[in-house]
Symmetry: C2
Subunit: 140 residues, 2 copies
């Protein structure tokens, strides 16, 4: 199955087992906030799960209540081995516009996952929320 189709399945169902099916072992995650690339499947799963909880891609109680309703992908540009998915969301009344920039290998496994977010106000909020979410997940 096309990795982007699979990715949408993950977002829609919140089924985090799909990470294991779509991420390459040597996948690298590039955060919108931090410069240092996060290398490997485990750390990438943690960051994507935390982002998912913050954005409310699943119905987990850990997600902030008002983040559920309005995360949506607004644009999709698909290349041969990469894709650019644009999204919009409103969290705590702050509008957030971002891009998932995804590259996969010949086995249809994701090797690179970059997230970029605008505007500055949304990144500052995301920075704070991601920090809190990662700490919360770490304590569970």
């Amino acid at each position: 199955m096309h990795p982007i189709k699979k990715w949408h399945e993950l977002i829609e169902t919140g089924n985090k087992e799909i990470y294991d099916e779509i991420l390459a072992d040597d996948v690298v995650f590039y955060s919108p906030v931090v410069h240092t690339p996060q290398k490997g499947k485990e750390i990438t799963k943690i960051y994507l799960s935390a982002a998912g909880n913050v954005f409310g891609d699943s119905k987990k109680e850990s997600a902030p209540k008002d983040s559920f309703s309005n995360f949506k992908y607004t644009k999709e540009i698909i290349g041969e081995n990469n894709a650019c998915l644009e999204f919009e969301n409103t969290i705590n009344g702050i509008h957030l516009n971002g891009v998932d920039l995804i590259t996969w290998n010949e086995d249809n496994l994701i090797t690179e996952f970059r997230v970029l977010v605008r505007p500055l106000q949304a990144i500052n909020m995301l920075h704070k929320m991601m920090g809190e979410m990662l700490e919360k997940m770490n304590n569970q």
Copy 2:
């Protein structure tokens, strides 16, 4: 000519007259820093010119000296009427990774130009430099 080919010509030559050939009158510019969309050809030209000066797409003296050398597009995903161009740069020793998300109409004129930048440190720097550049341009 394909709008992205034309865009690359602008970047490579620094010929800002090309803006008039590729931007629709009702183009909207979405800054990486500010939420409010900037509507119209004139304001979009100003923002893209300022960004060009900061990033050093032209050899103008107004561009910071160390920003010239290493701006480069690193990925390009082209859709039917939109494209995602990823770029990298280092300014003042700070690494900057971004995306131009460009949409055009049936006349091949750009109707939407979004710029997203990561990581946070780079956006903060860009925020400051864009402010200074817009003021400088305003005083010329």
